[in-house]
Symmetry: C2
Subunit: 312 residues, 2 copies
Amino acid sequence: MLKVPDHQVAGHHGAHGQPGPLIDDSGRFYKPLQDDDRGAIEAAFYTSFSSNTRVPDHIRRFFPVFHGTQLLEASDGSGQRPHLVLEDVVSGRSHPSVMDVKIGSRTWYPEASEDYIQRCFEKDRKTSSLCLGFRISGLQLYGSEESGLWKPERKLVQNLSADEVRVVLKKFVSSNSPIDPNLNPDCSFASSVYGGSSGILAQLLELKSWFEDQTIYHLNSCSVLMVYEKKKVLKGGSSDAEVKLIDFAHVTEGNGIIDHNFVGGLCSLIKFISEILTSPDECTTKVCLQNSDNNNEEILTSSNECTTKVCL
Amino acid sequence: MLKVPDHQVAGHHGAHGQPGPLIDDSGRFYKPLQDDDRGAIEAAFYTSFSSNTRVPDHIRRFFPVFHGTQLLEASDGSGQRPHLVLEDVVSGRSHPSVMDVKIGSRTWYPEASEDYIQRCFEKDRKTSSLCLGFRISGLQLYGSEESGLWKPERKLVQNLSADEVRVVLKKFVSSNSPIDPNLNPDCSFASSVYGGSSGILAQLLELKSWFEDQTIYHLNSCSVLMVYEKKKVLKGGSSDAEVKLIDFAHVTEGNGIIDHNFVGGLCSLIKFISEILTSPDECTTKVCLQNSDNNNEEILTSSNECTTKVCL
């Protein structure tokens, strides 16, 4: 039985008359192929990647398993439509905390249309991408049995300043309520989620090594998804922290050049996360992000200015 | 006695009624302060950097030593003008091979003027910068006693494709003539210039480690200068290969964020150089770059297209 996924934090949700993704009980995620080039490019990427012998096995685990494409009734009832059949990366997790981070200070690429380049250029400047080398493009944090899942407005998390991103990355691994802006995130789970030999930082560093060397693909506008199970950590279990790369609708061939835009952005994200592990207490900025279910006005406490000229 | 430097390959040359840099016999390089913000920013950077205790000593050697500013008669006879007094990074080298590589796929920065951003945006797209994450912005190769120094047109080297950049990076460390497009560069000196524990690759990797961590400065539009003495290597001596960072007229404060644009571009350059060390023979593209003293038409043999969409 196919159903709409509960834990999608970014991407196309199936609103506004657009078909959205579906999942089943066997751990598969069905993503409708987008009509324009994007659907074809993403299908081509998965097909190429899944059979590419130059991709080492230890890297393959960072990508959703690809099971081909399949004609399915679209989620919006608009009829049969081809879907990518992928591994559901949050399958088997009942209350996953999920963060979608779009990597790169630039989401456009040389041979995109001029119109697309201009739109991305403007959006990259308006959001955190240009300054930070990445932007948070979606977020879901498990609070507690009572508070449930906290899912701030996507538009808001895209525009965070460096200090605000630091707070959100801390909230992601804290035991206290993510919603209360007056609570300093305690970073209780930083070492079990970000740290350790199988934690998120180690996984990102493994990816970084590969990206410094691979010249096969440029993953323009692709996201790093960070997932873990807070409920399990609260009970003293392992965090099962996992990094996955998703969204390949703008992949281009590398043609012998590394994806330097991705490498730079990934290094920036790595630095933010490393700092939380080495100095979890350095933090004062308040971030007030209302739950997206809530219609109250969102409040941000610091501006998005990220560079200043050196003064004499 | 001040004189015009022989071995400057990029930057402001003192043509078109603009004052250029001067050198003396004691190893100092006098760079006229540019009139607009750029002069003030560069002086501020050198002042800040030279007294910044957060910069480790092993990194300091990659930057020209700063000896303050000094009023001097400008090289174009336009009167007294303030100059930065810097270490002359090619001082003591009689026939240096020099390559100036501007790092970053983006040479603009968020709070530059809209006009500057648009000019850089266009130039980065037209030159190698966007595709490669860097562009060669000047080049001088020592050929032999007979052929002397080869200095191709700067405009031409900025627009090279990935394959052409590979050839130029090979020519830089080859014993055969850089001028003849039919000669495959032999990469004779690759291991002594690029390789080894004190070679250019090792130096670039040391810089990379620092840039992955430092959040003090963003070195927008800055160059890596690679220098060595081919004549000495030909005689069996050491290459004295050296990496220096130069041109800080667009530096901004890092504000807690790494210079992800620089890191990405540097990683791309490192990959190109690593490949020459591991597979020096993989090369077929011809590159015909006329000496800039020569008025013949320049010929390029391959296009600058660097990415292709993945095909189904």
